[in-house]
Assembly symmetry: C2
């Protein structure tokens, strides 16, 4: 069983190695975790001893298969808790990260299963990022900004870019939430605003600024 520090390191390395799984520099990890390079140097050595990372002196660090599984599992927990905080406890999308950073370290597989079920098996967190399943698999469904779509296209809201209090309150007020459907009805070149159909029932007009901040996936 890992300490929460171990989990933080693995998560940081996962994040930094990106889709191409490049080796991550000691300094980058230090930066990400707000710690010193010397501490990281010590720590990755220990993680390597435990088989969680591959580490070659002066050359950077990558996750082992096992380390990656753990990282993905922590990310799963983090994102599920974020959904909980927004959907159930009505937190603003800008307040949740810090709390989820703590909740992600709670140890109980059953808790996460039940939470997942309670939330209706969400596929994305409130920022639109995909939630890995139990096995650590996830589908990066392609993320678009609403104003990249064409007239007639249907989409699902999967997150926001800008998550200021005000913006979130606005979304709330028009009953737009994660999973809501948005269909593009019309586009007005003169101010780049959009006429849309929300949840298959309400017509609205979105300014360019609003549309730009809505992350959606194309439906079907």
């Amino acid at each position: 069983m890992q300490t929460s520090t171990t989990e933080d390191y693995l998560k940081a390395i996962f994040k930094l190695s990106g889709p191409s799984k490049e080796g991550v520099s000691t300094n980058a990890i230090a930066e990400e975790l707000s710690t010193k390079a010397s501490s990281v140097s010590d720590m990755v050595k220990k993680l390597a001893d435990k088989g969680l990372v591959n580490y070659i002196k002066y050359q950077g660090t990558t996750l082992s298969k096992e380390g990656e599984q753990i990282a993905l599992h922590v990310i799963r927990k983090h994102r599920l808790w974020e959904v909980f905080l927004v959907e159930k406890l009505k937190f603003g999308w800008d307040e949740i990260h810090e709390i989820a950073e703590q909740l992600e370290h709670i140890k109980s597989a059953k808790l996460i299963d039940k939470l997942d079920e309670h939330l209706g098996y969400p596929k994305n967190d409130p920022h639109g990022d995909p939630i890995p399943n139990k096995k650590g698999e996830f589908h990066t469904l392609k993320k678009y900004k609403l104003n990249d779509l064409s007239i007639g296209e249907k989409s699902i809201l999967i997150g926001v870019s800008e998550d200021s209090k005000d913006f979130l309150r606005y979304l709330d007020s028009i009953d737009l939430k994660l999973g809501s459907s948005i269909e593009i009805l019309d586009f007005f070149q003169f101010d780049k605003s959009l006429k849309v159909l929300v949840n298959q029932k309400t017509e609205r007009t979105f300014s360019e600024l609003v549309a730009k901040n809505l992350n959606v996936s194309k439906e079907k």
Copy 2:
């Protein structure tokens, strides 16, 4: 800000000092926390330095006002999370303690406020123990076993003594949960069973064994 170890010590001391607030022995704390007396001895000294406990060598430890506030706050968090686990995630009442032990250390006042609200401001945890309010105050409403009541009395279910899986599943199946009302309609001496009215609508018969395991408070 306290570490979670500090919170565990304060909670243990609170629990052990009981209603009369007696001094707690080093050995008792060690036992409660599954640690060694020497560790406790070290630790209470540090807690005393921080003003969280009053400690006199060889004489035992009591909580300071501040230490008690912290302990009560941790207990509040623990019990609210227990309610969440049972009411929202449908955990059995026997599985929640261990998970709540972790959740109670999450730091965010706002989280607890929102959780409290989400749960409908419960007054008791699933075991029937009172949940302190934000200020650390709580009302110990008197706890009875259902079979201590007399015919005609009305009560509210506040917890169970025996929390085996089977028993909990049984309660679930008859829609009996925390806060449910139970009125005593009749008592049968020959087998000590009770006829009751659950939630003001369903008549049921409880065996003595069942009745004995239901903790209730008298209504009004």
